[in-house]
């Protein structure tokens, strides 16, 4: 244990020194001087990082993920997770201004796949993959304390309520829709909606459009009663993490030994991510047969969901494609040709000065719209698949004897471990053993020291 603490101290020191050296770089040119009261607007995205600092960020992410994994799997320390999440909030949130983040990296990856001209940076790729790899082995440790968006919400959980299952299940579809839309818009080069509607980035940068301030406040207030609303109802990266986490071999366990079914863990989890044991008396043949039949019916209906979803998605391509700047501009110039002479219309004036012809613009817009039509099929089909599978899942009765975390939904925050009486009992026993090893019989250390 002492060795590990020493290692942590050295690691922390090294990170500090590295950050100090790398941040010593200077701007090549001084900022223009304005002596006339002009206030320079803050850029909407942080300044580009030097390659060295990008590497430092990657190392810090890996270190944080490793540390959280240690706290969850080995140390079983909620306090450790909490302090790590505070570090994450300060470093990746307020210091790094919430960028780069693994959630937004989905869009970079999608764009790099569909647009050969777009080269994704190695750092972005690592930020995208590393949490997924950790989730595959250890569950959603990224959500526990390596995500600044999760951290800021986690710290504000005050009086969480448990929503009815049907509400949770319904809300649970939104992250899939958000993921599919984010990929569709990124793949067509239209927009990075995850970044655009990141409700906390304005708080991290202390600068946001009014609407995003409202959105951020809504999320934080909501999060006091409905814990981590962004993670549970919106986060598209959470979808990918939950897929990985389902297969995690070393996921967090609530109790270190045998569950005594006290239900304390279930009450402690603000995310409704703990599954109760299935009462055997409900697993009658009649129930099982009925569920099996319904499962088969819904399984057979699955292709219909996919086709129906795909059809609706493709029909929505005209509306969705309006999000693309070229399509938007082409439509604007077709419907309002008089705007070409409007010097105040910056969109059109910028286009006219670019040297491209109107025909070229229309051609580009048509290509984009075609991409949206194809993408709409995949988008809708995916949502149909998700709905179909969710419905099928309602009829699966698992054999489960203890309270266990739902590997897909569990954020590995460690609250349940902290509440587990078995855990506390084991700790007390360990302490007593330590005292005995030190020469004192269990429970007599205080007396002897008198």
């Amino acid at each position: 244990m002492m060795k590990f603490k020493g290692f942590l101290k050295i690691l922390f020191l090294l990170v500090l020194i590295l950050a100090g050296i790398l941040s010593a770089g200077q701007q090549r040119f001084p900022k223009p001087e304005f002596e006339t009261g002009y206030e320079q607007p803050t850029p909407t995205t942080p300044e580009p990082r030097s390659f060295g600092m990008e590497i430092a960020d990657t190392i810090i992410l890996a270190a944080v993920l490793s540390l959280v994994t240690y706290f969850i799997i080995r140390k079983r320390s909620r306090r450790g997770v909490l302090w790590t999440s505070i570090f994450t909030l300060v470093y990746f949130g307020f210091y790094r201004n919430g960028c780069i983040c693994s959630i937004g990296a989905i869009q970079n990856v999608a764009l790099s796949i569909f647009d050969p001209g777009y080269k994704i940076s190695v750092t972005v790729l690592i930020f995208f993959l590393l949490p997924l790899v950790f989730a595959l082995f250890f569950g959603r440790v990224f959500c526990a304390a390596a995500c600044p968006l999760g951290a800021i919400q986690d710290l504000l959980v005050i009086k969480p309520v448990s929503l009815p299952v049907w509400v949770r299940k319904t809300l649970g579809i939104f992250p899939y829709i958000y993921l599919a839309m984010a990929i569709l818009f990124a793949a067509t080069g239209s927009d990075f909606i995850i970044c655009r509607y990141d409700p906390f980035v304005g708080i991290f940068r202390m600068d946001a459009p009014f609407i995003m301030v409202i959105l951020g406040i809504c999320f934080l207030v909501l999060g006091m009663f409905f814990a981590r609303p962004y993670c549970r109802v919106f986060c598209p990266y959470g979808v990918l993490l939950s897929w990985m986490s389902r297969f995690s071999k070393y996921h967090l366990t609530i109790t270190p030994s045998e569950c005594i079914q006290c239900k304390l863990c279930s009450a402690s989890c603000p995310f409704d991510a703990i599954e109760a044991p299935v009462v055997e008396k409900y697993r009658t043949d009649q129930v099982l047969n009925r569920n099996r039949n319904r499962f088969i019916i819904f399984a057979l209906a699955l292709p219909l969901w996919i086709v129906a979803g795909g059809y609706i998605g493709s029909r929505a391509h005209i509306f969705l494609s309006k999000a693309n700047p070229d399509v938007y501009l082409a439509e604007l110039m077709i419907h309002h040709p008089e705007l070409k002479n409007d010097p105040d219309n910056i969109d059109i004036q910028s286009f006219l000065e670019s040297g491209d012809s109107f025909e070229q613009l229309v051609e580009k817009a048509s290509l984009v719209r075609q991409k949206f039509k194809t993408g709409g099929w995949y988008f809708g089909g995916f949502i149909g698949l998700v709905i179909g599978v969710m419905l099928m899942n309602q009829f699966i009765l698992r054999k489960q004897k203890d309270y266990v975390p739902n590997r897909a939904d569990c954020f590995s925050c460690g609250r349940c471990m902290d509440y587990c009486p078995v855990e506390k009992q084991d700790r007390n026993t360990d302490n007593q053993d330590d005292e005995f090893v030190n020469g004192n019989p269990p429970g007599t250390a205080f007396k002897n020291s008198m």
Partner: protein, 319 residues
């Protein structure tokens, strides 16, 4: 508050959040440029306090829409170069000489015995009748010659493309070149974001080079060592603004500098230490966001400005 009510509130807030996102998404399409947050209103700087303006425009000489690129004043005559021509006119506008050139010149310096005409990559020498005397070797692929000055045996050429000053001897051999770099903080090197890179030699034989990216005018020895400089970044009348100003300079008999700026076009006079003495022409005299006029002066203190936007030589005399 009971659980049912809380549930309803939570669902309602989520619905509101979704509504806000959908409404914003529909209203603010990506790429739709609204109000420019970086817009900077420079209107207040277009007019200059009249107490600064010590000159008035007395006359001008239209240039018949010829595309001019540079000029020089020498012994009451105006030497103009432009799209493949050399023209000499008197200060009252009478043409003395017109010769076609084999390429488009960028700058000219008239001396007693020769005319030094800079082209994009090379220098040519002419006599005062417009006959070519010599053509010196090209300076290289990235070269963009923007200015030429002469001191005795040395000919100084400003190469904006390579951000350097090249020094020739009178036979056309490159003797030295420098980029204005040194170990001191001031010697960053020439920052030349656009082909506006001017240099002059004053009556005391000092070489002064504009470092436009730093809004500075720097004095160098023939070895390329910086001897001194002055600079001033400001939107107000006392300083320079934009990416590359002053774009053009000239020197007066007493060593004062005549400066010309682009963007917020204005012509001013600074004393040799960089203190603003007066304004020759405020921005409202020029086209909005226009090119910097090339400037020169004669021994009487009259300022000549080649206004590229209005295509005329404008003459400013002290009030």
């Amino acid at each position: 508050m009971n659980k049912k009510n809380l549930t309803v509130i939570v669902v309602l807030v989520i619905a509101v959040i979704l509504l806000i996102i959908v409404m914003d998404f529909s209203k603010n399409r990506p790429g739709k440029l609204g109000e420019n947050p970086y817009a900077y209103d420079v209107d207040e700087f277009v007019t200059v306090d009249p107490s600064w303006i010590h000159y008035k425009e007395t006359r001008n000489i239209p240039l018949k829409n010829r595309q001019c690129t540079g000029f020089d004043i020498f012994e009451n005559e105006i030497y103009i170069v432009g799209e493949q021509f050399l023209q000499v006119i008197t200060t009252d506008g009478r043409q003395k000489l017109f010769r076609e050139l084999e390429a488009i010149p960028t700058c000219i310096k008239a001396e007693h015995d020769k005319l030094y005409i800079g082209f994009e990559r090379f220098l040519q020498l002419f006599d005062h009748e417009g006959n070519k005397l010599a053509s010196w070797e090209e300076l290289g692929e990235k070269t963009v010659i923007t200015s030429v000055a002469v001191k005795g045996e040395y000919i100084y050429v400003a190469d904006a493309g390579n951000r350097r000053v090249v020094i020739y001897d009178s036979s056309g051999v490159v003797k030295h070149e420098f980029e204005g770099k040194s170990t001191s903080e001031a010697g960053h090197g020439f920052i030349v974001p656009s082909p506006n890179f001017d240099l002059v030699v004053n009556n005391y034989g000092e070489l002064w080079v504009v470092n436009p990216g730093k809004h500075a005018i720097e004095n160098y020895t023939d070895d390329g060592e910086m001897r001194g400089f002055w600079q001033g970044s400001s939107m107000s009348v006392e300083g320079f603004t934009g990416c590359c100003n002053p774009a053009e300079i000239a020197v007066m008999e007493d060593g004062s500098f005549v400066t010309s700026e682009k963007g917020l076009v204005r012509i001013k006079i600074y004393d040799p230490s960089g203190r603003l003495k007066s304004v020759v022409a405020p921005p409202d005299k020029f086209k909005e966001e226009g090119r910097a006029p090339e400037v020169d002066t004669d021994e009487t203190g009259i300022i000549y400005a080649l206004d590229f936007d209005k295509m005329m030589i404008r003459i400013f005399e002290p009030k």
